[in-house]
Subunit: 242 residues, 2 copies
DNA sequence: CTCCCTATCTTTACATCGTAAAGATCGGAT
DNA sequence: ATCCGATCTTTACGATGTAAAGATAGGGAG
């Protein structure tokens, strides 16, 4: 809308021409104040600003709207600026996914802290997992739906690793046994895979609306969270968990 | 490669100029033979040919390479031809997903038929589920990873519904109780959600390579299939399945 | 204090993609 | 035999990712 003109792609091109020098007055104390001064032109916190802009675009327009150019527009810089900081789209998505993993891990850790009873301790992580995904479906999509992620990037590798470590640790505490970092028994691996698969699968199906067929057949007013609880705690009737 | 010329986008443009009439000899008995005659020009089985072309492109170039224009190229028609049959990219993806669901359902049904012991019966569907996804990761991605699917299309709705019905039925047999079509108890819903979530989550994590951290820590030579078996059958140590 | 170097950002350019609209082409009904 | 409508092609447009060259400013060397 009103963006048909290809010349007005960047938000600040309106103040560009005829301003070669003496522009110091227009952005006072860019660095002295700390960071956020509305116009991080040259030298500033563009990288951070781009990540925050990407998060806004993601929440506003979803995964499909998250493009390099859209992020640049949101941040008010030229469309090629992000490339310099992230290399390519994969780079931006990977760094954003790292941000998401850190939020995600923090949310689960915080939820575990407030749990008291054994039942609460068992359910705190899964519930926080699903709750985060429901509150930030775009972020969760970046982390678990996108194919374009580069796990060789240290920030992403580290954040994802921390997430896995938190899970393995929680399972270890639940089984009251130490889970060493370099070796697992088949039963230990199965327990971790079961917990992760169940919660991750539930979340994906829920976000994709594929659990509606179940939810609408359950007793009136049963929420997804209640179904999750039942799934995690209900007695296993058949001989196998499946 | 050698495709820089924008005029040669369609594979058969080489035989286009100077061939206004009398082209009947070039495609003999297009319809009389049945269908596949290499050149379904006008009136033929283009729709089916496009779906098959899409499947080839998907297996060859993955999800990222599956574009309307690539499918048209593969089928040897102009880049706008698919639009007439599928409306837009969402339409093509949805119809292809329907094809995938039918293959998927057939694979699971066939696996169930050959099972004899109770243990085999319990594991046949999950194993076939994961095996299909591993054999056709692109198709599985179309079905469960893509956001652009239109479930209001009858073919897709029907195929996906059949998949869910097969699952619910299998769970019902496992619990030795009839699962009616219009109402579920919380425990029944939880059992279905648990089975589906576990297998779907396992598959997604496996395809994304996220189970490598577990697999490489397991005893030497443990395969993903073995881990799946253990996950589905290993005794639950803690008080809750999680 | 002045000048130049380098990181940062902008401009320009190009191939590809999805999609719309208009033109060409053939099969079959009248 | 002729015309209509479904099918396919051409042409066109805006958007995107990415590469390459030009502009700009901050900070160190003299």
């Amino acid at each position: 809308m009103a963006k048909t003109d290809t010349k007005s792609e960047t938000a600040r091109s309106s103040r560009a021409p005829g301003r070669t020098t003496s522009t110091a007055a227009s952005r006072p104390a860019r660095r002295a104040t700390g960071a956020k001064t509305e116009t991080p032109y040259h030298h500033g916190a563009l990288r951070e600003a781009l990540l925050q802009a990407a998060e806004r675009v993601l929440e506003r327009d979803g995964l499909a709207g998250l493009t390099l150019r859209a992020v640049a527009r949101e941040a008010g810089v030229s469309h090629a600026a992000p490339t310099h900081h992230f290399g390519d789209l994969t780079g931006l998505l990977s760094e954003l996914a790292a941000v998401g993993f850190r939020q995600f891990n923090a949310a689960m850790a915080s939820a575990c802290d407030t749990a008291t009873t054994p039942l609460e301790r068992a359910l705190a992580r899964p519930k926080a997992y699903v709750a985060y995904a429901q509150a930030h479906p775009g972020m969760y999509g970046i982390m678990f739906r996108t194919e374009r992620l580069d796990y060789s990037r240290p920030s992403l590798h580290e954040a994802a690793e921390a997430s896995f470590a938190g899970l393995a640790n929680a399972i270890g505490m639940m089984r009251q046994e130490q889970i060493s970092g370099d070796a697992l028994t088949l039963n230990q691996g199965a327990a971790i895979a079961r917990a992760w698969s169940m919660v991750h699968g539930f979340t994906m199906l829920l976000l994709d609306g594929r659990l509606e067929d179940i939810l609408e057949r359950l007793p009136e007013g049963t929420t997804a969270e209640r179904l999750l609880e039942a799934m995690l705690t209900a007695p296993v009737t058949s001989k196998f968990p499946v």
